[in-house]
């Protein structure tokens, strides 16, 4: 038998090696492994995504993650400029050099750029646009998003080789925004026909990068398109991209994201948790690029049909009892602006709500609850009316830090005598509850650059009208805003719609979602497009 002291010595030796190793490397900050050398390779950018989407054909699938790589593979007919609310958001030429909208708003005519080639060598023209749009609306491909972005699409007509017209059955102002999104990116008809169902693994566009390889859950690579000479104005430089190749990898575990960035596995990492983001900000080797996401604010929609929330005084009391600033500081590390309404401040048409409508005012909350007849008679800390305690049921999902937000709400509302019960469900289960109406509160958190998504969530006829509101004024505003093409008029209508939503108190807004991107200091020129989620990789350089 091996004597015990020999084993003891071996263990000691192993420990010593480890300690010496740690001491020698901990402050080095340089990469030594072969893998790290690969990461350091001049023109290959490693980009961390947060989930591996199930299906990545932009015409078919709906996730935001698919757009992060594919925004650079596809060009769109138009591009949306600007992101900040101060900037007037407008559209600039992409694959379409110019366009006209008919007086009645039913026909959009696009004059296409000449000399554009797909990655497979085939030419881009009006016939290609027709193939793409008809593919998207074909029920057989089961489009999850793109087909709906086209709204009341009726048909597409090839006028000549470089002129194409889209016919609608009703005026639809969001159309240009839709056409600026990667989901309506232009794919090569030749390759679509060649690959059929397998197209998502062989995608071919006209963009600054070619699709190379995709291994679900593992990696997705795109390589530079050296022929690229038709970049839109929103790109900082013309000609081919700087980077040779971009490798995307998937990091579903939030706790591991900052570590992967620090370990040198990736140069860019999306959705860094706020606490890690604060730490990375202190480190000169990294930077945090916070990108506000246009669309819905993170908030909890109130079911106006279910007592006691059918009383607007109770809904307003909840709104006034909510300290949004405290939630934003505690859970989102102060990186997110506190939301005041249904849209985020990065969205076209956003207006900040006046304090008369949205503020933290527990005294007024108490007054409103008492006016509505809720008093704590039995002294248990929960108000009641006619023997019914003020007990609310919130349905939550695990993402968006919703459970943490709801726990803080629970304690904030307890102060004014409201008891909040929390139910965390899977997404499909929560949607099922949303359909049946068996809830008081349910979250909203969808991204989108056009405020028309208010129509989806607050129009009385919508399948996703979770507040179950039926308000003629609001319906009218949302319908008109969808049809009017003048941006200034639209913005005014949406301002009124947002105010109407908060007058009726259809939701408790919490924060504007902000994507905290962790970026290595070697990455230069990284910007994000008007959608917020999608990087403009064309201009990125590695130093």
């Amino acid at each position: 038998m091996i004597p015990l002291r020999v084993i003891w010595k071996l263990i000691l030796l192993a420990l010593l090696t480890l300690v010496v190793g740690v001491a020698g490397h901990v402050d080095g900050g340089y990469l030594t492994t072969a893998y790290a050398l690969l990461v350091q390779h001049e023109a290959t950018l490693f980009y961390g995504l947060t989930l591996s989407p199930s299906g990545i054909d932009p015409h078919v699938n709906a996730s935001s993650e698919l757009g992060i790589p594919l925004r650079s593979v596809y060009d769109t007919l138009v591009y949306r400029t600007g992101r900040s609310p101060e900037e007037v958001q407008q559209f600039v030429p992409g694959l379409a050099e110019s366009w006209e909208v008919s007086q009645d708003g039913l026909v959009y005519t696009f004059h296409l750029r000449r000399g554009v080639k797909f990655h497979d060598g085939s030419p881009f023209n009006a016939a290609a646009v027709k193939v793409n749009l008809e593919r998207i609306v074909d029920p057989a491909i089961k489009s999850q998003k793109a087909a709906f972005l086209l709204g009341p699409f009726r048909s597409v007509e090839v006028r000549d080789e470089y002129t194409v017209a889209i016919h609608l059955s009703a005026p639809y102002a969001p159309l240009l925004d839709s056409l600026s999104q990667v989901y309506l990116g232009m794919a090569a008809p030749q390759s679509l026909a060649r690959w059929g169902v397998d197209y998502q693994f062989h995608q071919v566009g006209t963009g600054p990068f070619r699709f190379e390889e995709y291994m679900p859950n593992d990696y997705l690579t795109i390589v530079r398109n050296d022929a690229y000479a038709w970049g839109p104005r929103i790109y900082a430089h013309q000609g081919p991209a700087h980077l040779e190749r971009v490798v995307f990898r998937f990091f579903t575990d939030p706790a591991g994201r900052a570590i992967a960035l620090q370990a040198g596995d990736v140069h860019v990492m999306g959705e860094i948790p706020p606490t890690d983001a604060k730490r990375l900000q202190q480190d000169e080797r990294f930077a945090i690029i916070p990108v506000p996401i246009p669309g819905q604010s993170l908030g909890l929609i109130l079911n106006t049909q279910r007592p006691p929330l059918d009383d607007v005084r109770v809904r307003r009391a909840l709104l006034f009892a909510t300290n949004r600033e405290e939630i934003v500081q505690a859970i989102f590390g102060g990186f997110s602006p506190a939301a005041t309404g249904p849209l985020t401040s990065a969205t076209f048409g956003y207006v900040e709500m006046p304090a008369t409508l949205v503020r933290f005012d527990p005294t007024e909350a108490v007054r409103l609850l008492e006016e509505a007849g809720y008093v704590d008679i039995d002294g248990d800390g929960v108000r009641e009316r006619a023997g019914q305690p003020l007990l609310l049921d919130a349905v939550l999902m695990t993402w968006g830090s919703l459970p943490e937000v709801a726990q803080l709400l629970q304690s904030q509302w307890k102060v004014v005598g409201v008891q909040l019960q929390l139910r965390t469900l899977t997404y499909p289960a929560a949607l099922e509850v949303a359909r049946t109406g068996d809830y008081h509160l349910i979250p909203q958190n969808y991204a989108g650059s056009d405020p028309d998504l208010l129509h989806t969530y607050y129009h009385s006829t919508s399948a996703f009208n979770w507040s179950r509101v039926s308000d003629a004024v609001l319906d009218d505003l949302l319908e008109r805003a969808r049809q009017v093409s003048d941006p200034a008029v639209r913005a005014k209508l949406y301002a009124q719609a947002q105010e109407r939503i908060m007058e009726l108190v259809l939701l408790i807004p919490i924060r504007d979602p902000v994507n905290l991107n962790g970026v290595s200091a070697r990455v230069q020129g990284l910007r994000f497009d008007a959608q917020g989620w999608f990087p403009i990789l064309h201009d990125v350089q590695l130093q």
Binding site: M1, L4, I7, G21, V22, H25, V26, G28, L31, T32, T33, Y35, A36, L51, S52, S54, G55, N61, A62, P139, K142, Q144, K145, A147, F148, L149, V197, Q200, M215, P216, N217, D218, Y219, R249, F251, T252, D253, A255, G256, I259, A260, Q262, A263, G264, D265, L425, T426, Y427, P428, A429, L431, E432, V433, R435, Y446, H455, T456, S462, A463, F464
Partner: protein, 307 residues
């Protein structure tokens, strides 16, 4: 023995049928409508959602859905993912190599570590080696993987910069996840081997072997360990199944591709065909491994051959 194997195979087919049925029923009891989930972010109308449900064949009566499912299964058709529209078989198959690689490496570590620690603890019973071994075993069982995984990454990727923090593809990527996963399995194995070996070492045949003047190593390896190992075989079999299905956390922490992540995503999103296919795949693996374990036991243990 051939009859025995045949009998076991028939049993296995029935077991798989039972599992297929159980998954089918469970998935339909769970709340949630895949059509609604897929279209939730799109602003689809209620009519569009109904249409999508029809297209997926989810509006049909359950018995019809069930018989179509079984019929397709019998033909080896696992269907297509509701989300990606790809064949389930392909979706699972492309994740299998990574999971398999991790499982084999982890199992090797489990066996080597479990055997080593178990034997060591039994030989030096009561000494500090024994106590440390038991301590390590307890630690292995009770430490959550997502935490110890991060700790490993911090140490070996961030501080030492010896190993990549994430991904798959080379043996360097395999070291940390395999060690972590292997360690968890090694803990119960070490404790089982220790107690079995202690029992065996007390047995009369060991005294006989020793009094014959056999070298201690031979006594240990040929006589004591061989008997002590038999009960551990089943445990190793169970571990192997667990590794295939249960590597989810490890895969997530180390951002590795693999079956586990596909299954979890599919359950969370209610991608029915993918969940059904994956459960069947894992279940078949269990069945095959258990069959293998039984065969090995028969080879090792004459008593089992006779019964």
């Amino acid at each position: 023995m051939l009859i025995l194997i045949a009998r076991r195979l028939v049993g296995a087919i029935f077991a798989l049928w039972g599992i297929a049925t159980l998954v089918f029923v469970l998935l339909r009891v769970l709340p949630g409508d895949p059509a609604r989930t897929i279209l939730a972010a799109s602003g689809a109308s209620e009519t569009a959602i109904t249409q999508a449900r029809q297209q997926m064949g989810l509006d049909e009566a359950l018995p019809i859905q069930y018989s179509r499912y079984l019929w397709n299964l019998a033909r080896g058709d696992l269907g297509r993912s509701l989300f990606s529209n790809r064949p389930v078989l392909l979706t699972l198959a492309e994740q299998l190599p990574s999971t398999f690689e991790l499982a084999v490496a982890a199992l090797t570590i489990t066996i080597v570590l479990g055997l080593g620690l178990g034997v060591l603890a039994a030989l030096y019973v009561g000494s500090w080696v024994d106590r440390v071994t038991v301590g390590i075993a307890v630690l292995g069982v009770s430490t959550p993987l997502f935490w110890s995984g991060l700790l490993l990454i911090w140490l070996f990727s961030l501080a030492l910069r010896w190993l990549p923090a994430s991904g798959a593809g080379s043996w360097r990527h395999l070291i940390m996840p395999a060690t972590l996963l292997g360690f968890v399995g090694a803990a119960p194995l070490a404790r089982l081997i220790r107690s079995n070996l202690l029992t065996a070492l007390q047995a009369d045949y060991i005294t006989v072997a020793r009094s014959k003047g056999l070298p201690e190593a031979l006594v240990l390896l040929r006589h004591a360990l061989r008997n002590a190992l038999l009960p551990s075989l089943n445990l190793i079999g169970l571990q192997a199944g667990f590794l295939l299905g249960g590597a989810v956390v490890t895969e997530t922490v180390f951002a590795r591709p693999g079956l586990g992540r596909v299954v979890v995503d599919a359950i969370l999103w209610k991608d029915l065909p993918v969940v059904q296919g994956a459960v069947l795949l894992v279940a078949s693996t269990y069945v095959v491994i258990n069959l293998g374990v039984d065969l090995i036991a028969m080879v090792l243990d004459p008593r089992q051959r006779e019964s």
